[in-house]
């Protein structure tokens, strides 16, 4: 399949070329690819696909958390090999807050590791905590927070490092629908204000349709992009665009592309 390219690789923020991931074993599992993708600087790109199609694998290889079996990945023109490049932040689906640290110390973790000055740490942590609406809980421990707030702590811990590319692996997967919508709004605000490029893995078509500039639809395993949907939303948007007639059309297109793949993943034939 032709790369889902923005046309000029020079301005692509992150690029995947012919990326394949096969998990070795007695029966090797071909999880992903071959797959091509160009992420434009500052775009909000979502990935949807059937369960087990390799969405999280895609995120892992793009982040440098897992090596591709074949193909090349680059971020800001440099190859991603063996470690997570500086400038990439990752938010996981699971609660990855540190239960032994307060919210403030959780958020400051990466900056302290990077050896930032205490005054700089205090300033950036205060901003990130305020940005995520956690001011009243700065000295609380994660166990004292709801699931949504803990996820906000994890986003703040990523945000404080000012990543230029933020990878989110179903970060709202464990949250109720209302909280997801509100968290989506916060994510859009973060994206607008930081100018970061965002790649969001999600299984929720409405979430992808609401938040993204583009949505990549993946096939059943091994995951490949089978459709690319540009939403055409204004940059200044929030969850209220759900009332826009275009929202239904986008969601319907995503489902039309995804339905046969989801049925395939469930072992059924599309009708």
């Amino acid at each position: 399949m032709r790369p889902l390219s923005i046309g000029d690789e020079q301005i692509a923020h992150a690029t995947l070329r012919g990326v394949t991931r096969v998990y070795p074993g007695v029966t090797p599992v071909h999880a992903l690819g071959p797959l091509d993708l160009d992420l434009a600087r500052g775009e909000f790109f979502s990935v949807v696909g059937p369960s087990g199609c390799g969405k999280s694998t895609l995120l892992d290889v793009l982040a440098g958390l897992s090596p591709p079996t074949a193909g090349k990945i680059s971020f800001e023109g440099k190859p991603v090999v063996g470690e997570v490049p500086d400038g990439i932040g990752v938010v996981f689906q699971e609660d990855a807050s540190f239960p032994w640290l307060t919210v403030r110390d959780n958020v400051a973790f990466g900056l302290r590791r990077a050896g930032a000055e205490p005054a700089e740490i205090a300033r950036r942590v205060a901003y990130a905590i305020g940005f995520m609406g956690l001011d009243d809980f700065a000295e609380a421990y994660p166990a004292q927070l709801s699931g949504g707030m803990r996820q906000r702590v994890c986003i703040a811990r990523t945000l404080v490092l000012q990543p230029r590319l933020i990878l989110l692996d179903e970060p709202f997967g464990a949250l109720d629908q209302q909280t997801r919508l509100l968290m989506g709004d916060e994510l859009l605000r973060l994206w607008r204000e930081t100018g970061s490029t965002i790649l969001l893995i999600t299984h929720a078509l409405d979430e992808a349709a609401l938040l993204s500039d583009r949505v990549g639809v993946m096939s059943a395993r091994p995951g490949r992009f089978i459709d690319l949907v540009s939403t055409g939303w204004e940059r200044d948007r929030d969850s209220r665009i759900a009332s826009d007639p275009g929202f239904g059309a986008i969601t319907a297109r995503l489902w039309a592309a995804l339905r046969p793949e989801s049925m395939k993943a469930m072992g059924r034939t599309a009708s």
């Binding site: 990439i88 996981f92 540190f98 239960p99 421990y141």
Partner: protein
């Protein structure tokens, strides 16, 4: 009164009531002095032994043995736990051994330990370690098993070295289980060494209790038993309070 304070009060009333009942039964002669002396007499005798310095040498000997066994058990148990955790094949091989560890009466190996280490404190310390180290090892294994896989990814996202990952993420994440290991290691090393002294040693608090028993020195025997009880309860209580504080902070109950 809060619920927690109410529970503590009830607990203290129950303990005080039980001690008061034994005191009463002893004072009324229902429990004969040759069987048991009154708790107040135990306390007086213990106070006398402490004041006279009579208890200092055996206590110091036992504390040295327990402290050494505890330290070795914690270090060796944690190291072995980490090693076995990193080697799944080794773990599968060791699982049945660890599961049946406490079914083995290790005191029967005392002659072998004497032959190996000589007639000194080392055989008893070895017995303490044999009892305590596996508890620490099993707690370490459990703790490392419970470190969420996502934490490993978080460490990589923050580009931590392996040492930084262990220090900043793995150890704090496994801390509740490691703390349980510490509590068990203390309890097992204390039990192992007191029991060992009781039947195999020529010194220490366990030996003192056994010697007093054989010499019909009831007051001294009960005073030493009270001392051992107070030490075990005190240390365990302190660890329990500490653990409770850590647990509340992390949202465990």
């Amino acid at each position: 009164m809060t619920r927690a304070r109410s529970i503590i009060t009830t607990r203290l009333v129950l303990i005080a009531g039980a001690i008061g009942l034994v005191e009463l039964l002893c004072r009324l002669g229902i429990i004969k002095p040759l069987t048991m002396i009154a708790p107040s007499q135990m306390a007086f005798e213990l106070a006398r032994m402490i004041a006279s310095g009579e208890i200092a040498a055996p206590a110091a000997y036992t504390f040295m043995e327990v402290g050494t066994a505890f330290a070795i058990s914690v270090v060796a148990g944690a190291a072995l736990g980490a090693l076995v955790h990193a080697q799944p094949r080794l773990r599968r091989a060791l699982d049945p051994v660890l599961a049946s560890w406490y079914a083995v009466p290790f005191f029967v190996f005392y002659p072998l330990l004497v032959a190996l280490f000589g007639l000194n404190a080392l055989p008893l310390i070895a017995i303490g370690v044999i009892f305590a180290a596996p508890a620490m090892m099993l707690s370490t294994l459990t703790g490392l098993d419970r470190v969420p896989r996502v934490m490993r990814k978080v460490a990589r996202v923050h580009r931590l070295s392996r040492v930084q990952e262990v220090r900043l993420i793995t150890l704090p994440s496994a801390a509740p289980h490691l703390f349980t290991g510490l509590k068990l290691a203390f309890a097992y090393s204390f039990i192992g060494i007191i029991a060992g002294e009781f039947i195999l040693s020529g010194g220490g608090l366990g030996y003192g209790i056994a010697y007093a028993y054989e010499s019909f020195e009831n007051r001294k025997m009960y005073a030493l038993m009270l001392f051992v009880l107070l030490i075990a309860t005190g240390v365990n209580g302190a660890l329990h309070v500490w653990d409770g504080r850590l647990a509340r902070r992390r949202g465990r109950t």
